[in-house]
């Protein structure tokens, strides 16, 4: 079965649609959204409605830190993220807020564990951005005695595969977009699947991944989308210019 793994959409409907179309062409049968549907971007409502539709059709949807923040926006205007959270709150009708508020933080599906941030104390929203944090995440995923072997996470906006080499520590591996990588089930893996709606590595294309559990392999994808339209939506909404320009530069 082919799973589309999407995360960190950040209210970018253009990027989400491009990835969805790409994944459909690849013959994806199941969908998983690993959180951060909203925040930063100019189209929270279309994104949430689209994901709610998938959810009704059986998709696995998780909550991210930006979703939690949009449901209970912080009172004081601290970070830029907090500012858009208040705006996002205004854009969402109550049933959408309820949907976001009741999403789980992680979900176990057979040998897979899906979680927005690190599986180690998911509520703390820790980044999985190096070998050590990946190990911590993997330890947490295997600690409860249920031995999830394949841990898929979002939150860091980059695509990296952590695996066990012959040494003690996990090793990072930078995947090549579009090349299927074997993920045999007798080994443990932690994959950060990247951001659909806000790439930050200088490449404007959206990121997501397809995991084929029958063949045991994962393909990290980069998909071009109309980032000009996504930036225009942010400007039209009157959100900070920085969020618009970073989509145009992929930074």
């Amino acid at each position: 079965m082919k799973w589309a793994l999407l995360s960190d959409i950040h209210a970018n409907i253009q990027a989400l649609e491009a990835c969805a179309e790409h994944a459909t062409r690849q013959g994806v049968e199941r969908w998983a959204v690993l959180g951060d549907l909203v925040g930063y971007g100019g189209d929270p409502l279309p994104v949430v409605e689209r994901v709610m539709q998938w959810h009704a059709d059986g998709a696995c949807v998780l909550q991210g830190n930006h979703d939690a923040m949009a449901v209970t926006p912080p009172q004081a205007e601290g970070s830029l993220g907090a500012m858009t959270a208040a705006w996002t709150y205004q854009q969402l009708p109550p049933h959408c807020r309820r949907f976001l508020a009741h999403l789980p933080l992680s979900q176990r599906l057979g040998h897979m564990l899906l979680v927005h941030a690190s599986a180690h104390q998911p509520k703390e929203w820790r980044y999985v951005d190096n070998e050590r944090s990946a190990q911590q995440c993997l330890d947490a995923a295997t600690a409860e005695g249920d031995n999830a072997t394949h841990v898929f996470v979002g939150h860091v906006h980059e695509q990296t595969l952590y695996y066990q080499g012959t040494g003690r520590q996990l090793m990072p591996f930078a995947p090549t977009p579009g090349v299927p990588v074997p993920l045999p089930k007798h080994r443990s893996w932690v994959a950060t699947i990247g951001a659909v709606g806000q790439p930050r590595d200088g490449d404007t294309r959206a990121m997501y991944a397809i995991y084929d559990d029958a063949l045991g392999r994962i393909t990290f994808h980069r998909v071009p989308y109309d980032h000009g339209a996504a930036a225009a939506a942010i400007r039209k909404a009157g959100l900070p210019e920085f969020f618009a320009s970073r989509l145009e530069e992929g930074r």
């Binding site: 595969l161 695996y163 066990q164 080499g165 012959t166 040494g167 003690r168 520590q169 090793m171 591996f173 995947p175 090549t176 090349v179 990588v181 074997p182 045999p184 089930k185 007798h186 080994r187």
Partner: protein, 478 residues
């Protein structure tokens, strides 16, 4: 795992006789087991099943090697690897079913009582180098090339066996670890592998050099060290020149072997296709002091290199397919009749530009003559004479080019079909770029007959540059 009885059924395969019982694995003949209706599905090719000898007490390394092979083999294509058929679940029963290939491993030639002659060694070496190039283009480095892992088919081409230590640039390297260590077979391991660099395609060139050394002299260039310290010797030590051990060996072969065995990867052949090219054209090899020497390197030189090697930092390996592209073989087709000075001038300009930005790129000048141009009876038109004339003409043409950073060679092909001869040459020598003149004559016919350049362009196995003639001083004549 115990030896299996013939007739044992495993996941739809029926095990036949054991054809190899190695230290790491058993290999059996297999065929598809009969279905429910009693009929047996015929396979397109004979098959073999490899079952690792793993027991609970075995080291992790055996298991990891098998995993690496399971990961990489299904992704490989081409005539130089056995075709992959199926793999068993590692948790239940690990096995690998692949194409069974007829042939003999290189060990067979090493076990010959009489040493091989230079041309036979070159043929074997060129076959292995071509096979290695095919892997490198797929971004895989074998990293364990040794006589037992190289099978020569009856047609003379080479096939690699055992990808247990290989490295695929697009897959996570299961044999990597943060504390880098030597992974390889002590006799053939390249210096950079000794210090834990995995994934340099030129490591395979080194291993081929060791095998050539063995075929030429019957001895190993660096012995068979049992410790990492012993293996580190090859970071600074030159082997005894093969011609010291076997004086009748031609200088060109020593030149090739010692170039493969250079301690620094950047001093070796930049790609296995360049090595194959030299071995296929021994008469075109430029022999340097390296090929002529019969005395080994002196103590002081070794001592200085030893000091340097002790403090050396190693860079990560370049992507194999990119490394191959860095040192392309550029082929220029030089017409020898009905050709204007302007065309020859423009061809030279185009070649100069293509080579200029690629130090190490190799130039092959090729001309095609018709088979009727030579004669076996008329000494004026004997093959040697005619070929020499053409080669001299090509050398003169190349004279103005700056070839200080490039090897160049000149080839006369005899064929009635020019396009076909050029295409075959490009294909069999792994040429990366063909440069030829766009047709200037027979323009009226062009609408009806595909011209030579068009035919080559349509079927070329690589990039092609069609050169339009233009002389810088042409305008002055008007």
């Amino acid at each position: 795992m115990k030896l299996l009885e013939p007739g044992t059924l495993i996941d739809g395969f029926e095990v036949g006789r054991c054809i190899h019982a190695g230290g790491m694995a058993h290999i059996y003949e297999v065929q598809h087991a009969p279905g429910a209706d009693g009929k047996r599905r015929e396979s397109e090719f004979p098959m073999a099943m490899k079952i690792p000898r793993m027991t609970a007490g075995d080291g992790a390394e055996t298991i990891v090697s098998f995993e690496v092979e399971l990961m990489i083999m299904p992704s490989l294509t081409g005539a130089h690897v056995p075709r992959f058929v199926a793999a068993g679940d590692l948790n239940r029963l690990p096995y690998l079913v692949m194409e069974y290939i007829e042939g003999q491993t290189l060990d067979h030639w090493l076990e010959q009582p009489a040493p091989l002659d230079a041309m036979a060694i070159a043929r074997l070496g060129a076959a292995v180098a071509k096979a290695a190039h095919s892997l490198h283009k797929q971004n895989v480095c074998h990293l364990d090339i040794k006589p037992a892992n190289v099978l020569i088919r009856p047609n003379g081409s080479a096939v690699f066996l055992d990808f247990g230590l290989s490295c695929h640039a697009h897959f996570p390297d299961l044999l990597a670890e943060e504390m880098r260590k030597a992974v390889g077979s002590p006799i053939w391991i390249a210096p950079e592998q000794v210090v834990g660099v995995r994934g340099d395609s030129r490591s395979d060139v080194f291993a081929i050099g060791v095998m050539l050394y063995q075929l030429a002299t019957g001895e190993t260039p660096f012995g068979e060290p049992a410790t990492t310290g012993g293996m580190r010797q090859r970071l600074w030590m030159d082997p005894v020149p093969p011609r010291k051990r076997r004086p009748d060996l031609p200088e060109w072969l020593q030149e090739v072997i010692l170039r493969c065995l250079e301690p620094e990867a950047s001093q070796r052949y930049g790609s296995a296709s360049l090595l194959a090219f030299d071995l296929a054209n021994p008469d075109q090899i430029t022999v340097t002091a390296r090929g002529k020497q019969t005395e080994g390197t002196g103590f002081w030189t070794h001592f200085k290199r030893w000091l340097r090697a002790a403090g050396k930092q190693y860079q990560p390996s370049p992507l194999p397919s990119r490394q191959v592209e860095e040192v392309p073989i550029v082929m220029v087709a030089l017409p020898h009749y009905d050709v204007t000075d302007a065309t020859l001038y423009s061809l030279r300009e185009a070649v100069g530009r293509s080579l200029g930005i690629r130090p190490g790129a190799r130039l092959a000048c090729v001309t095609v003559i018709s088979s009727g141009d030579t004669s076996s009876t008329d000494s004026e038109r004997s093959e040697t004479t005619v070929h020499r004339q053409h080669i001299t003409r090509m050398r003169q043409w190349a004279e103005p080019l700056d070839l200080s950073n490039h090897q160049a060679s000149y080839h006369v092909l005899e064929s009635g079909d020019v396009a076909d001869a050029l295409l075959k040459y490009a294909e069999s020598n792994n040429v990366n770029m063909i440069i030829m003149g766009a047709a200037t004559h027979g323009l009226q016919m062009q609408r009806f007959v595909a011209t030579v350049p068009i035919k080559v362009a349509m079927e070329a196995p690589c990039t092609m540059v069609l050169v339009k003639q233009s002389l810088p001083f042409e305008a002055l004549a008007q």
